[in-house]
Symmetry: C2
Subunit: 469 residues, 2 copies
């Protein structure tokens, strides 16, 4: 909480730079208040107590970390009255920290520079948090079937865990920071000013999707900018562990990564399909490819930026994007969705079963990254898919109590649980989430958090066994 | 093929009874032609050859059995010109044999009695076929993770298999026949004539959904009829193995069946939710419950009968039905969809994984029907879910090439792959499938077959390993 409050000094500075005094003071008030309260709570609870931290505490810290961050992050919006209602401010901030990019703003350009910067910065912080969490922390806690590398990681003892996490986290942060600097530089080279370049970089690398313009990236007409953002969206949707490996010189491991190959294949094939389908709309194949690639990357990586209103595209292209909304980015990336590795593992086990049908006595191994992995990894993945589908349909039912048609209700659930941002119908890329009644906004905030924390981290807290000694 | 041709004598008799000479003669022509061709092929191929039948031959026989049955079954429609186009006739027949109930007919009452009877009879035959297949045959071939009782069944050797299958099949057929007689009797008691009673019984027990009226069961206003059909739809969506157990005196096994409990709970809860939501539309809670129960049973069991146009219901009720379209009936029933047991098993493995997150060294067993089952059963189920979702989205993409909106394209895929019949949008309960271009009708015919044969049975034929020696 203290770190997040300190980060509020950046937008405060920007607000004062643009002579937005009210905004600037709101950040200082919010930061000051949260820091004081945090120090108070620390003294109140931690004085003289030293307890071992285990898996349960981990789940609680992660879940409530996201909730409290969103509560604190919402304060500047409310204090400055730029987003006067708390429900809206909380939704917007949760959408930021979970890198969803769903917005309740009806007039984005009406916000002050300070607030727009803070909004994008929540993406950047959330993205950084999730990478460290999924690559360094969750595998140790054994969450969600992404712990393919479990053997490499130390056991669930905190003493052993700490140094490893610290070291991994440091390298991941450095990579994230490097990407940030490079993309910002390239966007400025393409004609953006520092403010637009940095905020859009935050939205890209976190696969968030908040823009400073109502028209999103479409407000900038340079093809160079579109291409740079496309490339960095694709990079941000890849497992950051791969970059870690590249940095450590394990180049072979990088290239034989199953998830990366499938992910890039999906991106390539769907981009081509859409580009061919859109060729009449955009005149040349080059332009068609540019717009297809951008929107494909945006939905596949669950970013949510737009250079075109895809809800106006032909049915086939729309349906391909609908398809991509179920997939999502790679594990250990800032992307959301079900994740490519889960779908790949399920596909491989399905093929295995078919081989077993033909040769009932044969032994068929599950291979990922060129190596045999234990079939046990399927159990958490299978449970995940069921919970994901059940939540998707449950959230759809809740949203539908507001009286919206199925397409709107269903893609609202899909776009929040999958941390995508835009859906179809009334939550399409040219629309926003402002019209939902409050109770739906709270449910969608919960959906964004559930999706972001890979379901299990949050759901486990709701089981009775969690609270038994 | 010969048996199916002989069954054509029933609608032929009905046609002559109603003085529909052209229809009657068409059945005789079709039956005669198919029988002659079949005998010719038998002499041509089987003469002097006696080969061992294994699992591969089983998959081929089952898949091509459904294809050839639909080819033969379409003949009377084409010969009599009651459905002049072959694509349409094939679609309608495949829809019949797969117990889907999706129709290309725009004027149902315009068909002759003989043709309407044949149409419903394909349901009844397909339903009977699928029960024997999933309860007696597929478990032995090891398909689709429904082989929970594999240990009870003999190994994949044909010599041992034959007597067991024959015995099981006989009992299943007797149960199916008993249900047919009882429901027909009850419907006649409720005021239907023999023709309407028997055709609607065929549609109910097969969870098919073809009616003799454009308004479906809604054309009959007796609440008694609605309730009888509701009850028998629910019965038809249950595992016929359970009735087999009841008959064999294993009453305890019946009541501790996990899938049945979950299935009935889903039916009860969703019916109540919809009934409460609809109370204003239908005046009294009793009437609301009657309409909610019918439509819930119809969609959950994937029958597709209608007493109300649910596409005009409030958003919440529509979304609950949309949710049910993903579930489907029980394994070993005539119902389609993903099947309750698969979702239940995945849910249980997910809960297991959560417990394991809290107690990483604990051992958590998977229990079904009060007994511990091997966790291996999750592998084929996990693969199934992935293939199901992938096919759903793939078929959606193909349908969308016709330019239909997402809701229509997606629920068309859902309604055919899940063997439901009606979807939403342009394939809603008051609509039909006639407007699709031919190539989409062929793809949807394939979808119905894939769904009906639990995906694996058909998909395995498409793998290269299937064709290797």
């Amino acid at each position: 909480m203290i770190i997040i409050s300190l980060f509020m000094l950046f937008p405060a500075g920007i607000a004062f730079f643009y002579h937005e005094t009210t905004s600037g003071i709101s950040f200082l008030k919010a930061a000051g208040g949260v820091i004081c309260l945090s120090i108070f709570v620390i003294f109140l609870t931690a004085a003289g107590r030293k307890e071992q931290m285990g898996a349960r505490e981990g789940f609680l810290i992660v879940t409530f970390g996201w909730i409290f961050s969103s509560l604190a992050g919402a304060l500047p919006f409310v204090i400055s009255k730029q987003i006067p209602r708390f429900t809206d401010a909380f939704f917007e901030t949760m959408s930021g920290f979970t890198t969803t990019g769903a917005s309740i703003l009806t007039d984005i350009e009406g916000l002050s520079h300070g607030m727009l910067f803070w909004r994008s910065l929540t993406h950047w912080l959330g993205g950084m948090g999730i990478v460290v969490l999924t690559v360094a922390l969750l595998p140790i806690l054994g969450v969600g079937g992404l712990n393919l590398l479990r053997a490499e990681a130390p056991g669930p003892s905190v003493d052993k865990m700490t140094p490893k996490i610290k070291e991994t986290a440091k390298i991941l942060w450095s990579i994230y920071l490097l990407f940030t600097v490079v993309e910002t530089g390239l966007l400025m080279f393409g004609g953006m000013n520092l403010f637009d370049a940095s905020t859009h970089t935050f939205g890209t690398l976190a696969t968030g999707g908040f823009s400073t313009r109502a028209q999103s990236v479409g407000a900038f007409h340079s093809p160079f900018i579109h291409i740079v953002i496309t490339v960095f969206m694709v990079l941000a949707g890849m497992n950051f562990n791969l970059y870690y490996k590249l940095v450590s010189g394990k180049v072979k491991d990088f290239f034989k990564d199953t998830e990366m190959r499938v992910y890039l294949s999906i991106f390539g094939i769907t981009t081509l399909l859409i580009a061919v389908n859109l060729i009449n709309s955009y005149g040349t194949f080059g332009r068609s490819l540019q717009y297809a690639g951008f929107q494909t990357a945006s939905i596949l990586t669950t970013t949510g930026f737009a250079t075109a209103d895809f809800s106006l595209w032909p049915a086939f292209s729309r349906n391909i994007l609908f398809f991509l909304m179920f997939v999502g980015g790679s594990a250990g990336s800032t992307g959301g969705g079900m994740k490519v590795i889960r779908l790949t593992a399920l596909f491989k086990i399905g093929i295995n079963e078919m081989k077993r049908m033909i040769h009932p006595k044969g032994i068929f191994l599950l291979r990922l990254n060129g190596e045999v992995v234990k079939k046990d990894i399927i159990y958490p993945i299978a449970g995940f898919i069921l919970f994901y589908m059940a939540l998707l349909l449950g959230i759809t039912a809740v949203v539908s109590t507001g009286g919206y048609p199925i397409l709107t209700s269903f893609t609202t659930a899909l776009a929040t649980l999958g941390n995508i941002g835009p859906g179809f119908g009334r939550v399409g890329p040219a629309e926003n989430y402002s019209f939902f009644p409050d109770y739906i906004k709270w449910v969608l905030s919960a959906a964004m958090m559930l999706g972001r924390l890979e379901l299990y981290t949050v759901l486990v807290i709701l089981t009775p066994s969690f609270w038994k000694k």
